[in-house]
């Protein structure tokens, strides 16, 4: 059975997560410190506002994609497929990543402020989930782990 999403959707997901990973890393004041921003063509990574806006724009795209694919899965695709534990783990990681990102967006609104400790908790967990999502993606490629399986297929693959 084919994957329910096309390669175009998968490519969009990969591009968005790559954009988010790069612009997210650029939010830490480490790139200036370790000089990648002085590399030709990479100077834009040192512009906090630019990378911040790109991160937000990428988040908008990813949230839309999550809503779209999640809805299609719930309404249609899950009838013939079921998530494996690996798929559940990836989906939960993605949801947690989105929730912590949303919390940070909320904190950044003009009328909302959190304590340093709450903000650190949100930031660190956001970073942790991003690393976990990337690790799971690498594991998927390395181990060819399955995210879903056709319903009724109980074979151990």
């Amino acid at each position: 059975m084919r994957a329910p999403i096309t390669r175009r959707v998968a490519l969009t997901y990969v591009l968005l997560t790559t954009l988010l990973a790069i612009t997210g890393a650029a939010q830490l004041p480490l790139l200036d410190r370790y000089r990648p921003t002085s590399t030709p063509w990479l100077g834009w990574l040192g512009d906090y506002w630019l990378t911040h806006r790109l991160h937000y724009a990428g988040a908008v795209g990813l949230l839309f994609l999550c809503g779209y694919v999640g809805t299609r899965w719930l309404l249609e695709w899950r009838r013939e497929r079921r998530l494996q534990a690996f798929g559940v783990l990836r989906a939960l990681t993605l949801v947690a990543l989105c929730l912590t990102g949303a919390a940070r967006m909320l904190k950044n609104l003009p009328s909302v402020s959190f304590s340093p400790r709450a903000t650190q908790l949100i930031d660190c967990s956001h970073l942790l989930f991003a690393v976990l999502l990337g690790t799971l993606a690498v594991l998927r490629l390395a181990l060819r782990a399955q995210s879903w399986r056709p319903r009724g297929d109980n074979s151990d693959r």
Partner: protein, 397 residues
């Protein structure tokens, strides 16, 4: 079902908001879902009128209402938010306060600078021993501990200094003294972009940096339109992590004497001024007074709209563009230009992000863009296609 869920969610949020004191602002005479009568009926809150929090409007705005509920809802998810409530409660009544500086009265005597240094001396950094540079040399070590006496610019030991502008305007010579320190923005970029949450905006409108959380990356200084925060290397939590590879000290700037204001006092600079240059009060009141003062002296206001609005208002008989050109600027000596609201795009994108998953759900439910996502491929039996949950590139399934 969705509407029931939405009502339940709002109900929970309001309960939490009430319990933690977040639901405090109700506009008398508000209509619709913001009215006291509506909340009373729906949630039996006996909703209390407390104070006007946002001086931009006469009461609660839809934006504040939603963000308050959102913040309260988040408290269900993040245990640390209870700390946030405690943190915020330090401000008396949560009223947004602003300061007004009548520059026509300032003689540049420096009493405010002296008072600031004296009152905040206990907060100043105390680096010990040699400060190790970073391997890349970036950011450079900034050690002001041997130059604590410097008062003609901002430093980690001098959070307020007096800038002097001399020139002529409309054929008359002028000399204007401008006490400079953090403007305490309403939407502070330093607090929004600090990756450690060390910079935060208090409910009373002040912005401050927590020296116990700051690692001195200096991003706040980069994104501040005026570059107010100043770094002192060799102090702070970074020393306990990876001092040569991570962080570089602590950023310091005016916190508008939070400890004094929290107990109903005034910032030291306001209190000490012998000429009554400065005053402090609710932002709405200060805004009105600033504009009235400007009208009376045919003068100009700075701080009301700069960077989207600040809680520091300067009123001068000379246009600020002229003052900006006349003052000495550079590191630690901020300009008087009129920066645009650098965080406005961020807010718009945040609201777009709020709508994006909803739009995605609607599009998914209506199967919009199914050509993009791919029409449901015919089931050809297990094993007929190579892409069986492993082959695609890993989008959310």
């Amino acid at each position: 079902m969705l509407s029931s869920f939405a009502v339940f969610t709002v109900y929970i949020n309001v309960i939490v908001a009430r319990r933690e004191g977040a639901l405090r602002v109700l506009r008398p005479g508000a209509k619709g879902i913001y009215s006291r009568a509506f909340l009373d009926v729906l949630f039996q809150t006996g909703a209390r009128q407390v104070i006007v929090h946002d001086s931009r409007s006469a009461g609660i705005s839809r934006r504040r209402f939603l963000t308050t509920l959102g913040a309260a809802g988040l408290s269900l998810l993040t245990p640390g938010t209870a700390l946030a409530q405690k943190h915020r409660s330090k401000s008396p009544a949560g009223l947004e306060l602003a300061t007004l500086l009548d520059l026509s009265k300032c003689t540049g005597c420096g009493a405010c600078v002296e008072a600031c240094r004296r009152v905040n001396a206990a907060k100043f950094p105390h680096p010990e021993g040699p400060i190790a540079p970073t391997p890349s040399g970036s950011p450079p070590v900034e050690d002001w501990s041997a130059r604590r006496e410097v008062t003609d610019r901002l430093t980690p030991y001098n959070w307020l200094f007096i800038q002097t502008a001399r020139g002529s305007f409309e054929g008359e010579k002028f000399q204007i003294h401008i006490p400079r320190r953090c403007m305490h923005c309403q939407n502070p970029p330093c607090a929004n972009l600090c990756p450690w949450g060390a910079a935060a905006r208090e409910d009373n409108g002040a912005v401050r940096i927590d020296p116990g959380a700051c690692v001195g990356g200096g991003k706040c200084q980069d994104v501040c339109p005026w570059g107010f925060p100043m770094r002192q290397s060799g102090v702070g939590p970074y020393l306990k992590i990876l001092p040569r590879f991570f962080g570089n000290g602590v950023m310091y700037m005016c916190d508008r004497c939070q400890d004094r204001v929290a107990v109903g006092g005034l910032p030291a600079c306001v209190d000490a001024c012998p000429n009554g240059v400065q005053e402090m009060g609710p932002r709405a009141e200060i805004t009105a007074r600033a504009h009235a003062l400007a009208r009376n002296m045919s003068g100009y206001v700075y701080g009301d709209t700069e960077n989207g609005g600040t809680n520091t208002f300067y009123v001068s008989p000379v246009p600020f563009e002229i003052l900006d050109a006349a003052v000495r600027t550079g590191p630690g000596r901020p300009r008087l230009a009129a920066p645009a609201d650098v965080a406005a795009d961020e807010d718009r994108l945040a609201y777009a992000a709020l709508l994006a998953p909803v739009a995605g759900v609607i599009a998914g439910a209506l199967r919009l863009g199914s050509r993009f996502a791919g029409p449901e491929p015919p089931a050809r039996g297990h094993g007929e296609d190579a892409d069986d949950g492993r082959g695609d590139s890993g989008g959310p399934r």
